[in-house]
Symmetry: C2
Subunit: 242 residues, 2 copies
């Protein structure tokens, strides 16, 4: 059975303007791979209601899961919950369990439970909450759309809470082999090896270290013995000293 | 006149698997902002022919420019040029000027000009070459699609060669103000200020430093005096010592 598929949607003007270097997608892509879920696409879009709806409908329709980051805080530019509810065709309102979580959080800190903070208890109808052990305000799963916060520490905690609920597949086996040759010197042999192993993903990633060019050859697949066989062929063609 | 718009398309399995942390989009988003081109979307997709065609047609159709990174090297998994040519409905073949650039590069290094290397001279019909001062193999602009290499050092050099050719607009003016309050404490006032300045983009970005929560308030707009006015309102509402 093929692995489940997923897309990641990052919502936030601050990434598109180059102000912030995104890290949540990198973290999540690695965790999905370990969990046996194939991440097929990552998208970064602006805090725009119509744009979020279009992206959610497109990606949630094409993949088994859509995981989002950003836009569920208390401020006027936090519009993800509204857009996801509309994209999925369900209502959105303050929900008692989410309100209770926030009320307890602020009461324990002698902080006022303001209308802005109450906004974070607005949850699409029928959604399942995603626990936020860092700052209480929950994420949620609405159908196959999993909505999480953008602050990295909170996002990562939510991902760890969510993943056990998602059925995983086979984590791909990865082997790599670094050669001190430019990519163009390994291309022909690599093409032959890839042709003999169509079930594997064989990639070549050129790098440059202290002015010398090299290539990292990466073999990935679900079957350990085939990955190891192909690795042996790569190693025979390009011994370490090359 | 509104600024030109752009999308960034990153092509590469190694990002989706979480193996590599993408940095080219971050670099390019910042450079586009400085050049007065509004980056509206960033997308990361796999090395898949049909997937690249669909993404190129979607993004090049919706935005003034599409800038891509990755998949134009010499190996079997470098399929971007073929897919872009097909997406744009033009042919693709080895082109004399591109071949001459590569031939001179390899001749100067006493290196063989192999069939794999010749692949990098395959250019869509009618495209304009993008100079590669690092390793010779050129990128290209095919209509409004600008195709560049994935190796960061080469990508950055190609971006610097390309940008002067693209008409820019007004670089947005950005001011920010950091407050030592959680986002939920600034939300109500910020919403009022944003309501008074609909032409501005006013964002709030929560952070955590050594266990204390704070929020970075970012005001962006094309009109300096309006940005400064709104900044004054933000500073009055949240003096530095708050």
């Amino acid at each position: 059975m093929p692995n489940p598929t997923a897309a990641i949607l990052i919502i936030g003007d601050e990434i598109l303007s180059g102000r912030t270097r995104e890290g949540n997608a990198y973290f999540l892509a690695g965790r999905l791979a370990e969990h046996g879920i194939d991440c097929r696409e990552i998208r970064v879009i602006a805090d725009d209601h119509a744009g979020i709806i279009a992206a959610v409908q497109d990606l949630a329709g094409r993949f088994d899961h859509l995981l989002t980051s950003g836009g569920i805080g208390p401020t006027h530019d936090d519009i993800t919950a509204d857009a996801v509810a509309e994209a999925m065709g369900v209502g959105l309102d303050v929900r008692d369990d989410a309100r209770a979580i926030l009320a307890a959080h602020y009461a324990a800190r002698d902080a006022e439970f303001t209308p802005a903070r109450l906004r974070m208890a607005r949850i699409p109808d029928g959604a399942v909450l995603i626990d936020n052990p860092v700052s209480a305000a929950p994420g949620f799963s609405c159908g196959n759309v999993h909505v999480m916060a953008g602050v990295p520490k909170i996002f990562q905690a939510m991902v760890e809470g969510l993943l056990p609920r998602l059925t995983g597949g086979t984590a791909l086996i990865t082997r790599n082999w670094e050669v001190r040759l430019p990519e163009s010197s390994v291309a022909d042999v690599l093409r032959e090896i890839a042709g003999r192993h169509p079930a594997l993903s064989i990639g070549s990633y050129p790098f440059e270290k202290q002015g010398a060019y090299g290539t990292n050859l990466v073999l990935r697949g679900a079957d350990l013995s085939e990955v190891e066989t192909a690795l042996g062929e790569v190693q025979a063609a390009f011994p370490e000293a090359s």
